[in-house]
């Protein structure tokens, strides 16, 4: 089979090509009718989801302290649990990241993007048999946007001023225009619950493809199929069991002995060993998460842009991706956006390791003596190794880095966002706007590089309300250049999400939105006997 027919069969497998189209194109590529027909049948058969079976996942991130209240979902474990039993108003397309309908059928912004009207789907039933109403939707959003709420989505929804029902529709009024509003509603905390979960936030009653049958925090969650699911293109297995496994070796042992079908968080250091197991498949997905070295732009010596540039040029990004991520990642370019975001500014030159340029800027900055970099294993996996690797690459540019290893306990309180130069990580955000608003807006609580520029802030707010995509893309490009050339961020790499499954698991969707197929892994795969 040549590459083209391989591509064609993969299109069939993912359901994108009809028999007529496939045979036509395959014959055009020089394949006989009989062979083309057989190829189509085989690949279409492989594509057809099988129903039934008991799916077992072994996931890192569960804890005895996990809460069943969606507002308090925090761990990877609960992220995945919530996706099994609940639905949001909006989902994101796995391939493009664009907003696609879920419990909201369609939506319409006002001209200034400050008022949004969502049409809510009819005929959807909660697990307790009660029909989903607009009141449930309004109550849910109100609970998460209440100023007294402990919801993890509180920050995301900060700009919502008013939530009300208008006929069967949901109307959101924002304090300023936001073209990305639908994408914000994909947040995994925003599970629509009966009466917004006000009666019993821990009831775990939703509209999702599975019902929660048992739950022991940090230990295990089990699910059975929701027979009344409003969608037929998900929920293929009969039952699900999610087991909390925080030890990396335990996860690998459980997967390679076939006791679970899927594990998350495969360590890049051991992935090559795991690959040798005959029944194991490595699932690596490009993501938006990135590992960073952050400098405070307002603190000496990092208040000097030449020093910042010197430190950026002294970063050997290729070596980082290779040695720290084991190749499971992509090069970063010192701004927090990559091509998994919609409206990614293309064609910005990749910054490369350049000791000469680094030395030039370092000299120009007038700084002398060593630069103190604080790091820890909790900053990101391999954080300390990365700091030492960076120390080496800086040495060639004549810059001396002093690496200080900080205790992991309390790193996020005492070092990150406090000390002027440290290592850290960022998970992705659904939109560019959110990423910049969270960490690069002058007034942002988490402006961990102390990047404070009025022109940047103005551009960000303009882009947020801009519904014209071309204009918006231009604005994002300008913003990316500002952060890249004048900001305090050194971004060597975007890490891939590395998970693994047994070969029985089929239909895995590589979702750019987030880890574990954006949390939907259990509802999207099926088991091949």
């Amino acid at each position: 089979m040549n590459r083209y027919t391989k591509y064609l069969t993969s299109r069939v497998t993912s359901g994108g090509l009809s028999r007529r189209e496939f045979i036509g194109r395959a014959m055009a590529a020089g394949i006989t009718l009989a062979v083309a027909d057989k190829l189509f049948t085989e690949s279409a058969h492989a594509a057809e989801p099988k129903r039934g079976g008991h799916l077992k996942l072994g996931l890192e991130g569960g804890a005895a302290t996990d809460s069943k209240d969606p507002a308090k979902f925090l761990s990877q474990f609960m992220f995945c649990v919530g996706r099994c039993w609940g639905d949001m108003l909006v989902e994101s397309d796995p391939l493009t990241g664009a907003a696609v309908p879920a419990l909201a059928e369609s939506w319409e912004p006002s001209k200034d993007a400050a008022t949004w009207t969502f049409k809510i789907r009819k005929g959807v039933k909660f697990h307790d048999g009660k029909e989903l109403t607009i009141d449930d939707v309004v109550a849910t959003l109100k609970r998460h946007t209440d100023a007294k709420s402990e919801s993890g989505a509180l920050g995301v929804l900060g700009s919502i001023k008013d939530i009300k029902a208008d006929g069967g529709n949901l109307v959101l009024t924002l304090s300023e225009g936001n073209a990305d509003m639908p994408l914000l509603l994909t947040d995994y905390h925003l599970v629509i619950q009966p009466n917004g979960g006000n009666d019993d936030p821990l009831a775990s009653i939703g509209t999702g493809p599975y019902r929660l049958t048992s739950f022991e925090p940090g230990v295990r969650a089990t699910f059975e199929k929701n027979k009344d699911d409003w969608r037929s293109d998900r929920g293929y297995v009969d039952s699900i069991e999610i087991i909390g496994m925080n030890d990396a070796t335990a996860r690998i042992a459980a997967l390679s002995s076939g006791q679970v079908h899927y594990i998350n968080r495969v360590d890049p250091k051991t992935v090559d060993l795991l690959k040798r197991a005959p029944n194991v498949e490595i699932l690596s997905t490009s993501g938006r998460g990135h590992y960073v070295f952050i400098m405070h732009c307002d603190t000496a010596p990092f208040d000097n842009n030449d020093l910042r540039l010197a430190l950026k040029y002294a970063m050997d990004r290729e070596a980082m991706v290779k040695k720290i991520l084991g190749g499971y990642g992509k090069l970063g370019n010192d701004f927090p956006i990559n091509n998994t975001y919609a409206l990614f500014p293309e064609g910005i030159e990749q910054r490369a390791y350049d000791p000469d340029k680094a030395a030039f800027h370092y000299k120009k900055s007038g700084h002398s003596g060593s630069v103190l970099l604080r790091t820890s294993e909790v900053a990101f996996p391999g954080g300390v190794d990365a700091a030492v690797l960076y120390q080496e690459s800086c040495k060639k540019a004549g810059i001396e880095i002093e690496v200080k290893r900080e205790p992991g306990d309390g790193y996020w309180t005492n070092v990150w966002n406090v000390q002027p130069f440290s290592t850290s990580y960022w998970g992705g955000r659904p939109t560019q706007d959110q990423m910049y608003s969270t960490a690069y807006l002058s007034t942002a609580d988490w402006n961990d590089t102390r990047f404070k520029r009025a022109d940047f802030d103005k551009l960000l707010l303009q882009a947020r309300a801009e519904l014209d995509e071309t204009k918006r893309k231009d604005m994002y490009r300008t913003m990316a250049m500002m952060v890249r050339d004048e900001g305090g961020l050194i971004l060597p790499m975007f890490n891939d999400f590395v998970n693994a499954s047994t070969k029985q698991v089929k239909g895995y969707v590589h979702d750019i939105g987030n880890d574990m197929s954006n949390g939907y892994v259990a509802t999207r795969v099926w088991l091949d006997a």
């Binding site: 072994g58 804890a63 005895a64 302290t65 996990d66 809460s67 069943k68 209240d69 308090k72 925090l74 100023a147 007294k148 709420s149 402990e150 919801s151 993890g152 509180l154 920050g155 821990l202 048992s214 022991e216 925090p217 940090g218 230990v219 295990r220 087991i243 909390g244 496994m245 925080n246 030890d247 070796t249 335990a250 042992a253 459980a254 390679s256 002995s257 076939g258 006791q259 306990d409 309390g410 996020w412 309180t413 005492n414 990150w416 998970g427 609580d445 988490w446």
Partner: protein, 335 residues
Amino acid sequence: MSNPPSGHILPGLRFKQRFPLLALILERFVLSIILLFAVSVVIFGGLEALPGDFATTYLGQSATPQAVANIRQELGLNRPVTTRYFEWLGDALRGDFGSSWASKNSVGEQIGKRLGNSLFLAGFAAVISVPLAVGLGMLAVHFRNRLPDKIINIISLAAISLPEFFIGYLLILFFAVKFGVATFPATVYESMGLVDRLKAIALPTATLVLVVLAHMMRMTRAAILSVMSSAYMETAELKGLGAFRSIVKHAAPNALAPIINVVALNLAYLVVGVVVVEVVFVYPGMGQYMVDAVTVRDMPVVQACGLIFAAVYIFLNMVADILAIIANPRLRHPR
């Protein structure tokens, strides 16, 4: 010597003389309670001293000042430490450990399940390891400095020299991954039947047995050997008693005190110190519960776990002391 007239000594002292054993037990008991209070202060103080509080740690990198303030307000974290300590102590004395800050579940209920799991695993390991260790110890004495003694020593020393997680991984590698005969992970849950449960804990139990065996076995061996050199053992030998019989009948009872001590210490370890084993085998016990809680500074849970761990340790040590006193009447009248 006649007893001194009763009116001349304090009533407490009289009680002590009349019921020396009971007095000793009571004394130990009161001391244990005082110790528990001291431990509760240390636990509370230690948690206060940890960097970061619950609100910031729980929300982690996604903590907005608003959310942090909300949580602090709700949990009353703004109040002084002493107020919170005495409130907690008062509730704990009434048996109410409150509810977890993170999950809002009742701590007492959660601990009930987790402690049950831990005791199940520890009990199973103890039932196997204690008789095995004592028996092997006696065997080693019987065959001292001969081949069986050396083999027992080498194997148990090798087991104790390897870190427990490594033993665990080796057992997993061979019995679960390579041969596929053992169940892994050892996750147990409420609706699980006894047979499945026992199957599930086979590997962690084996690990624990290997870890605690050597300590108890060697202590048994040493204690019996030291008794063996005493005069009455020589008498036993001279009157023609069989070697093994003299060990079991005359040496072992007199070596009981140190053996009881080391057994108690290891039992306490089995309940309190198995965190690593629980993590490796994905076993939902107390250790795992406490570690999870410490990570997010879930104070009610950590305090309750700490207190229970301390109580287990103190209780087992107390029992060991009392048993040792019963086994050796000379200890009843300290001079």
